[in-house]
């Protein structure tokens, strides 16, 4: 990746993070989970997937399924920056006049399927992957899951079936930000060693730094990792990445900041100097 391209992606990701911070008020959103996968989604939509404003219903497009639906602010922020979504719709966050709420839904063009209930989209994406193969098409099918989401047996069931059917056009990407809702994964339902678990289920696995655009590009450009197996990319990430004042904290999954705090956090995004936050810590599910 050229330095210029990397800088463009980093600038894009910064603007996406600004959208996420702006959505973290007036009812709030899942800020921490969104910031951890912002770089991943920016990379995928800006540089990897064949998804553009003019091909959203083309059966030859690539598919991204956001199974960890809580990070939808990162998706919508990316959509706005890439011209898939009108920025004004974000101003209607949590308004019943629009469909911009805490989980993705198909009232927003570019969202392939609704999510919110964890562990569903690996199997839905498998169905799409099977159909693309049936039709002899080479679409790339990506499904992004959380790491807490890996508690759900249906993720593993879908992977088992994908392996059995030798599906190689399906890639499961894990946003490994080390937290499930309100607790560190390793303190509740430990996942490590994670890569061998996926390997045992028949996938070929790579593990990368999910905030490093060079590593993202290297891993995704090597897909599929096998001719007859599903691929898994574990992206090691930081919950709340970009805002040192909330990074890697169990209590900053869902955030509802005051307007003043949002302004301070926007400054923090650029300066990387921690803000002192006084808003109530919310632990919700």
């Amino acid at each position: 990746m050229t330095p210029e391209k990397r800088q463009n992606l980093e600038a894009l990701a910064l603007r996406v993070r600004e959208h996420i911070v702006r959505l973290s008020t007036d009812g709030g959103c899942f800020t921490g989970a969104s910031l951890s996968c912002a770089d991943l989604l920016v990379y995928l939509y800006a540089d990897y997937l064949n998804v553009r404003p003019d091909n959203l219903t083309d059966p030859g497009r690539d598919y991204l399924f956001l199974s960890k639906g809580h990070d939808v602010p990162a998706l919508y922020g990316t959509f706005v920056e890439l011209g898939l979504l009108d920025k004004d719709r974000l101003a209607r966050h949590l308004s019943t006049d629009d469909h911009i709420y805490w989980h993705p839904n198909r009232h927003v063009p570019g969202v392939e399927f609704h999510s919110g209930s964890l562990g569903h989209l690996p199997s839905v994406a498998l169905g799409v992957a099977l159909d693309c193969r049936l039709r002899g098409q080479d679409n790339k099918i990506i499904v992004v899951t959380g790491d807490g989401e890996l508690n759900e047996g249906s993720v593993w069931e879908a992977l088992l079936v994908a392996s059995a059917h030798r599906v190689n056009n399906l890639t499961l990407v894990v946003d490994r930000n080390q937290f499930q809702a309100n607790v560190a994964t390793e303190d509740l339902i430990p996942l490590e060693p994670l890569a061998p678990k996926f390997e045992a289920f028949g996938a070929v696995v790579r593990r990368i730094d999910g905030h490093d655009f060079d590593q993202l590009a290297t891993a995704f450009s090597a897909l599929p990792f096998s001719e007859d197996k599903p691929s898994v990319i574990i992206c090691d990430t930081v919950r709340g990445r970009g805002l040192p004042s909330i990074e890697a904290r169990a209590d900053r999954w869902f955030c509802n900041f005051s307007a003043e705090e949002v302004e301070e956090l926007l400054r923090e995004l650029h300066s990387q100097e921690a803000t002192s936050l006084t808003s109530e810590t919310l632990t919700v599910r």
């Binding site: 399927f113 569903h120 199997s123 498998l126 169905g127 799409v128 099977l130 193969r133 069931e157």
Partner: protein
């Protein structure tokens, strides 16, 4: 014509149709070589089965999905509601051995809340054919519809020549002044027997085969209620959420009331055994139904004769 022949014929004529199963191949075992990759067996994974069916439907396919009715509607319920229901995708659910048809399997296999669960999903349609002929008559319309559908699969041989199927319409088998029996699914066969036994006692007995529980034929239910006859709902389902509940909802919506005898399973699973023994034990043979109805009418029931022996089913699951 069998279920398998119908699905084969339909799939060969329409490549949107894909056949899926959670390793339940009883009715479709000869299809893999015919359909090739359009036959998808996900193994014993009802959740993945439904999720993948939703994905295939997103791409324009019409998946006809097979699993035992109980595992399909219970294990995969949230996947049906959330992936098929919210997106309103044309996934066609074929639930095998529903109701009493799981005969000897025991409570784990008894799908007797399936109608209640499936009809609770917005946009889902629910069908319960009386027998194989009734089922083959309705499946083409069900598979051609853009709606998600749940079908209580029933391959028992017909003992009655059915009228042509019309979506959303019940089959009025007979009018009656004293009693009108409302039923669906495999118990239709026993209600036919019960009707004959009661007619032999001088009673005028109507019989309605609902066929479709959602949409339900409201006009048929209202006409039956307005007739003044004793209404008898007969179903191999819990008393909550099935036909008795549907009837109550329709009557209340129209500010009507009626004398209703609900014959259903109340707050318990049924005693497993061969089908004939189950119907006998649970009081759902033609003779038992006729006696229970006669008693409700205040009539003597001891001299009501036995009906024909119940045909046993031939498979194990």
């Amino acid at each position: 014509m069998t279920y398998e022949e119908l699905i084969k014929q339909t799939a060969l004529a329409d490549d949107r149709l894909v056949v899926m199963t959670a390793e339940n191949r009883a009715l479709i075992r000869n299809l893999p070589p015919v359909l090739g990759p359009r036959f998808i067996d996900t193994g014993i994974t009802e959740q993945t089965l439904i999720g993948a069916a939703a994905g295939l439907a997103l791409r324009g396919r019409v998946p006809v999905v097979h699993a035992l009715a109980t595992f399909l509607t219970l294990r995969a319920f949230e996947f049906i509601r959330t992936d098929v229901g919210i997106a309103h995708l044309p996934v066609k659910l074929s639930g095998f051995v529903p109701g009493f048809l799981s005969d000897g399997n025991g409570p784990t296999h008894q799908a007797i809340e399936d109608v209640s669960l499936m009809r609770g999903i917005p946009g889902m349609t629910v069908f319960a054919p009386a027998d194989e002929a009734d089922m083959l008559a309705m499946l083409p319309a069900i598979w051609a519809s853009p709606d998600p559908a749940y079908v209580r699969i029933n391959t028992r041989p017909a003992t009655y020549e059915h009228a042509p199927f019309e979506l959303g319409k019940a089959e009025i088998v007979a009018e009656g002044r004293d009693v009108i029996i409302l039923t669906y699914g495999m118990l239709f066969e026993q209600t036919l027997v019960a009707r004959e036994l009661l007619q032999a006692q001088g009673k005028s007995v109507g019989l309605i085969n609902l066929r479709s529980l959602k949409p339900v034929d409201e006009a048929a239910l209202l006409a039956a209620a307005r007739s003044g006859a004793l209404l008898v709902t007969v179903e191999d389902h819990f008393i909550t959420g099935g036909l008795y509940s549907i009837l109550a909802e329709v009557l209340l919506r129209h500010q009507l009331t009626a004398r209703v005898l609900p014959l259903a399973l109340e707050e318990r699973w049924y005693r497993p055994g061969r089908l004939g023994a189950v119907l006998e034990h649970e009081g759902f043979t033609g003779q038992h139904l006729a006696r229970r109805i006669a008693t409700a009418l205040g009539e003597a029931s001891e001299d009501i004769a036995a009906g024909p022996a119940v045909l046993e089913t031939q498979f194990a699951e």
